[in-house]
């Protein structure tokens, strides 16, 4: 076994082989990714945007669940590293014919894939794939169920570091549907590893998981109280289907109590920044004046996302 059984994303030298989750990643690896991404920010702003780090490598975007933004930014990142990119939307092809995840992956491996970018609706699917691919193939999790979305978490902490420089004196609030959010879990792990002293999660009791305090966060149900004096406000997307079930009463009531508007944002520190992983529901979790306001870093997040994905792909390919 070439992987470390205690942490299946690391090889036996403790280097990043797959990126499956931010939980349990050493701080040195997180910093390495952020620093490498920083060097790619320059590349993405150049006239000629390509570097040859992944030349000749085949990167397969295998998305068992629909996505536009994440898939596109992975594709751009891979192309800027000079890789060959193949996009597969599996939800409309093989699984509808009854093929299992592992069979799909075995077939693609036989096509000499070097890297799989995987999105799946079930938590843990990338772990399963990573366990069964050959030793030369790298797996990068592009979002699995409610579990993890590590590159999103990384680009969020990259944005925070970019604007706030240091994590060790920050107060960060994550607001909304924590229960179903792989983004929230990834942010929490990245922030705690990087030394952020106070993370708050804010939402109604129906959307906060049972044992979230075990991840080292403070729970608030009153958004005004939770936003007081924070440096960073991370808003989560509220899936449309959540507003129809028994978890919430309505989009309007959610917006009234947990939507971010200028008045609530004023409770945070004056220089607080606002993050959102997109796609936004304006008027459900965030008001347009905040989304487009001067404290919003939502669009820079997207550009940083490309640099982060370039960094992750080049690091795993080099290990």
């Amino acid at each position: 076994m070439w992987l470390n059984p205690r942490n299946p994303q690391l090889n036996k030298n403790g280097e990043l082989h797959h990126l499956l989750s931010l939980e349990g990643l050493p701080v040195e690896i997180l910093r390495q990714i952020l620093d490498t991404a920083n060097s790619f920010v320059g590349v993405t702003q150049r006239d000629v945007k390509k570097v040859p780090l992944l030349r000749g490598k085949a990167v397969f975007n295998i998305f068992f669940e629909a996505s536009t933004r994440t898939r596109t930014t992975f594709e751009i990142a891979a192309k800027r590293l000079s890789a060959d990119v193949i996009n597969l939307a599996i939800n409309v092809s093989s699984t509808s014919k009854g093929e299992s995840v592992l069979d799909t992956v075995a077939n693609l491996s036989a096509m000499q894939a070097d890297m799989f970018i995987v999105r799946h609706a079930a938590s843990g699917a990338p772990h399963l794939i990573a366990k069964h691919v050959g030793p030369d193939i790298h797996v990068i999790n592009a979002g699995d169920g409610r579990h993890s979305h590590p590159t999103q978490g990384l680009l969020d902490v990259f944005a925070i570091r970019h604007y706030k420089k240091d994590f060790t004196n920050l107060r960060v609030a994550i607001v909304g549907d924590i229960l179903h959010s792989r983004v929230a879990r990834s942010q929490i792990h990245a922030l705690t590893t990087l030394g952020c002293p106070e993370i708050r999660v804010i939402g109604p009791r129906t959307l906060i998981p049972a044992e979230i305090r075990g991840l080292g966060v403070h729970v608030y149900h009153d958004m005004r109280e939770g936003l007081k004096d924070v440096d960073v406000v991370s808003m989560l997307r509220l899936q449309n289907e959540r507003m129809k079930g028994a978890l919430l009463a309505s989009g309007q009531e959610f917006y009234k109590y947990y939507g971010l508007n200028d008045e609530k944002l004023a409770l945070a520190k004056p220089d607080a920044i606002v993050l959102h992983p997109g796609p936004m529901n304006r008027g459900v979790e965030i008001d347009s004046s905040v989304a487009d306001g001067k404290q919003s870093v939502i669009l820079p997040q997207v550009s940083f996302g490309i640099a982060i994905r370039m960094a992750v792909m080049s690091i795993v390919a080099g290990n």
């Binding site: 938590s123 843990g124 169920g145 409610r146 792989r182 049972a210 991840l215």
Partner: protein, 425 residues
């Protein structure tokens, strides 16, 4: 065939025996314990020096996957596994395909099992036709065909009126009803305990209240209807407390736990190990410890293997999509011994939970070594260590969370009706 089992330490919890005694068997029955009966000449002598001789184990829940799921396991493979595990009587849940809801099916299963001449099979009948939760089955007819109790297996029975009537009807004939308490709506889509592991891994969860609200309903309906209720595979500390209180208030319910839940907790899921995807879910370490204590103080009457063979393809899936269950027949004895050793429970008490007490719940004459009883017994080496290797298990289900674990206690001989049904090589 006359068999002498000599030099063994005989432990028979029902008859309160724990002593060096020889066992004499003739014509399928135990004919003497201790001194040889007059004129007894053994055709075969089994030397049990250094070993323990006990009643054959009685398992309250073993899925044999027949009829309907023969690609997962067959009666042949699972009966071999039972005998290799020292199990001589087992109850099988009705969630076969078709479910055990007609006398013909039950008779066929009993007949198939009998011709194999291995462990004795006691079918649990379906409480409702097709396990669909609306029409009651012909419980009295099914009982006459061989069903010892009725249950809904793990299929949700959401209509409390149907449950109420089913219990009343069963009570009419004094037929036991076995229920695993779980509120289907509170458990909807859940695959893991609503605790720190599900929170971290983002797994849809099943809260403890899914078990306790259903348990409260069952306890009240049992009191109301006078039905003989057995509670299957409780998983939480709170459920054990509720049973303890109900008993204190005069309820006559019995309950069991699955042997896996004595040793594993949600933490064992690790990085999404589908072998730890079980029904009910593995709960917290606190819950696990409460089950262990409950079994020791006899709040929990018995422990079962909850044997669920699952084929490999159904486990090689993301955790929430994988099929729940673990193989158990060959592990029931060593895992029970492990609990006993770790919690300082005496060997006779531990063996009682998988012999005498389980037989009492089933209402069968088994689980003891009285003179005149069927010679169903098990000889095992309590000190022998062995490593769990899925490929060497006789069950067709190789799905085990204990792969690679060293366990103590290995069966050397299993006798059913005075015939050697298993002998270790």
């Amino acid at each position: 065939m006359k068999i002498l089992i000599k030099n063994g330490r005989l432990i028979d919890p029902k008859n309160n025996i724990d002593a060096m005694r020889d066992v004499y068997i003739a014509a399928g029955k135990i004919v003497a314990i201790g001194a040889a009966p007059a004129g007894f000449t053994a055709n075969r002598t089994i030397d049990a020096s250094g070993k323990i001789v006990c009643p054959g184990l009685v398992d309250l829940s073993a899925r044999l996957r027949e009829p309907g799921f023969e690609y997962i396991a067959t009666l042949e493979s699972e009966m071999d596994a039972a005998c290799a595990g020292g199990v001589t009587s087992l109850a099988c849940p009705p969630d076969t395909d078709p479910p055990l809801d007609e006398p013909g099916l039950v008779e066929m299963l009993k007949y198939r099992a009998r011709t194999l001449n291995k462990a004795r099979v006691y079918p649990i009948g379906a409480l409702t036709a097709g396990l669909k939760g609306s029409q009651l089955t012909e419980m009295a007819e099914l009982r006459d065909a061989g069903c010892v109790a009725f249950s809904h297996a793990d299929v949700p029975l959401t209509d409390n009126q149907v449950l109420f009537y089913a219990m009343q009807y069963a009570a009419t004939f004094n037929i036991p009803v076995w229920l695993r308490p779980q509120d289907a709506s509170l458990a909807r889509n859940g695959v893991a305990h609503d605790g720190q592991v599900a929170t971290r891994l983002g797994l849809p969860s099943i809260p403890v209240c899914a078990e306790t609200t259903a348990l409260a309903t069952i306890l009240l309906l049992a009191r109301e209807t006078g039905a003989r209720v057995h509670l299957c595979r409780l998983s939480s500390a709170e459920a054990i407390n509720m049973v303890r209180r109900a008993r204190h208030d005069g309820a006559t319910v019995t309950c069991d736990v699955a042997v896996h839940h004595l040793h594993l907790s949600e933490m064992d899921i690790g990085y999404f190990d589908p072998h730890c995807h079980l029904i009910p879910p593995l709960r917290s370490q606190r819950d696990r410890d409460a089950l262990r204590r409950g079994l020791a103080d006899h709040t929990v009457d018995a422990v079962c293997s909850d044997h669920c063979p699952v084929d490999d393809d159904a486990k090689q899936l993301p955790f929430s999509e994988s099929e729940p269950g673990a193989t158990g027949l060959e592990l029931l004895l060593p895992l029970t011994l492990k609990w006993a050793e770790e919690d300082h429970v005496t060997l006779p008490t531990a063996l009682a939970r998988i012999t005498r007490d389980a037989a009492n719940i089933l209402g069968i004459d088994a689980g003891h070594l009285s003179v005149g009883a069927d010679a169903d017994l098990c000889v095992f080496d309590a000190e022998r260590y062995w490593k769990v290797e899925p490929s060497s298990l006789l069950s067709q289900g190789k799905n085990t969370p204990y792969s690679g674990l060293e366990l103590k206690g290995r069966v050397t001989h299993t006798l059913v009706g005075g015939q050697v049904a298993y002998e270790a090589k």
